[in-house]
Symmetry: none
Subunit: 203 residues, 4 copies
DNA sequence: AATGAATGAGTTTTCATTCAT
DNA sequence: CATGAATGAAAACTCATTCAT
């Protein structure tokens, strides 16, 4: 059974879910969780309001979907970076990706960071852990690279790196100044370049 | 003319305003701007809701008051630190103060950072600039210290330092782990210690 | 797909909207814009308050709907009068319709006039023009009849006629005396009868 | 006992009351009864809010005071007109006074008419009668002049004249067009001029 | 599965009036 | 008498969620 677009019902449903997820990620980033009405997401996805609840039982589930979307973006990025042979280059590629997003970040903040901060204020219920998970995913990947570089305390280094990103994003956003991303990005690249090579580990 | 507490009418009013401001700062930090109802602040201050509007015409003004309260705290801190003769020690004192707040920060985030992030999502209107101003105040103070140390690019150093604080606060909050504050704080102290002495400037 | 009343979903919604519009027109006329709460209109229409906002986004939109309702009534009346061959008779029919409403008018004033007067005090925003439009519609129709009678200055005559109506309505209302409508109505009929016949124009 | 301005206490109080009355008349005319807060009137009069209630027990009393102020203006005007020997000239002087006010009227409507219309929507309680009284005062004066001209049905003529004024004011206000006042005023003057001289009565 | 409509609790804000000094 | 402050009852509007087809 296919519709006019040649999609089966299940496929159409999946496509709608994806559209809603993408819309949620975008709108929640731009307007914030509390200021976003379900109707906003529905409209951005071109889905009637009532229908949203077929795919997501609560607003929280939409937030969770947005977090999942971010995880997806992150995975895609790290997969691409994974093709680079040198872990240092992979880390530098991450930083470069951040700087490339400077305008969006200066306008709306880091998608993950702002979401995590807002989720923290919501009544508890799974979302906290979901936000933590995305953050941890990023930390873990970075720690992995530092580890492969053979550096001591890779987890600490990861916290430093990701923390620097979150901090510069927040400042860039608060001051509405993308150049903060550029300058701090350059500093991070320098720092990564200057790191000694320990006993590199195989991946 | 004084009441039983020995306060004049005007003094009592000023005290109430201060109570409301303090309550606003506290509750807005803990629950976030959007999840805080005026009634929450009123209750925390022991003031009937309607009366709040005698002191603050809008919710935004309460947010602004909370920002002013933070500026006050910051000024008190920097004043205290200002008594230290060495700018490096002053910066280290700042970091130590951050670490001392680790539990609150891990639970609710940096008061200024979370507020700034939320304000960014609100409809524009003065608040953006107010948030930016508090951030800038902190940046400027830090830059001043770096400058007095005779270091190059004091503004950039300040962004790095304050950014690190914002980032570690966000991570500590997202992961609900105060130890992140401890570890990153230690790293910052090391970093400050390792900074070369340029041509120190007189204050 | 029809419900027990034989109405489709869309028809039921349209019916509800009409019910709300009619209720708005009635209640706003009787209680005035400022003294009418949305809840009053909701109750008069038998609709829960929250639901009103599904049909009308703001109170102003309800006022606008009431104005549209008046335009509708006016159009229906002029359509009926339009079947009379003589423009003079059409104008006299209008006056007679006013007099027929004397009791309501003495109690609540002219629906359009009182609404227009109240709208004038509201913060600007489209409503002023809407009110002016209804007034102009009436003026234009009257001017058209005078023009067809071949009289000079048909616009001026229209202002005189409609002005007389507004004035007598206001006095009847202020003095709570419907007989004012009767007497002034009779005078207007005399005046219309006494108007010379100019060079009648074809419609 | 006099203050620095050389006013006795009673005089000062009376002056304040007058200031409040004048402020009430002005502000209520411009903003309408419902949209005027006591605080607005207090501010316009330069009187602290709490103090208003010493002079006027309720908002309604302020409205009443505004009506009394209008009566005062009317009396002053008719007194001035009373010096003219010919009743016809006195009526024409009244019309001229209306036209002179055309800009204010086009902006805010006839002070008495708009107030009367709003009062009609308020919960009953004396105000209705007060408004009616002002209207009647004007009607009676006009009727008197027509009577002195020896014309039949002076009361009806008065209703026609005052009604015309109320109507043209409402139209001028709704359409925001002062020229309506000018044109209708001219017509009324013509009408008065054309009235036959009956058997003039002595005043 | 899809969808327009319904619901009801919650939030900010305004204001007439009162009160304590 | 004067006055800043207090109070509590509205009122408009929003929205997550549910429901009836």
């Amino acid at each position: 059974m296919t519709d006019s677009q040649g999609l089966s019902r299940a496929e159409a449903a999946a496509a709608k879910r994806r559209r809603l997820t993408a819309a949620a990620a975008k709108v929640l980033h731009e307007k914030g969780v509390e200021r976003t009405a379900i109707a906003d997401i529905a409209q951005a996805a071109g889905v009637p309001v009532g229908n949203v609840y077929y795919y997501f039982k609560t607003k929280d589930e939409l937030v969770e979907a947005a977090l999942a979307e971010q995880t997806g973006h992150l995975d895609a990025l790290t997969a691409r970076l994974g093709e680079l042979p040198d872990p240092r280059d992979r880390l530098k590629g991450l930083v470069t990706a951040w700087v490339d997003q400077r305008d969006t970040t200066a306008r709306y903040g880091c998608p993950t960071g702002t979401l995590a901060a807002e989720i923290d204020k919501r009544p508890p219920g799974g979302l906290d852990e979901s936000a933590a998970r995305v953050v941890r995913r990023l930390l873990d990947w970075a720690a992995d690279q530092f580890r492969q570089l053979g550096l001591p305390d890779p987890d600490g280094q990861a916290v430093t790196l990701i923390g620097a990103y979150q901090g510069m994003s927040l400042l860039a956003n608060a001051l509405r100044d993308p150049e903060i991303m550029t300058r701090e990005g350059a500093r991070l690249l320098d720092w990564l370049d200057g790191l000694p090579v320990g006993t590199p580990r195989l991946r």
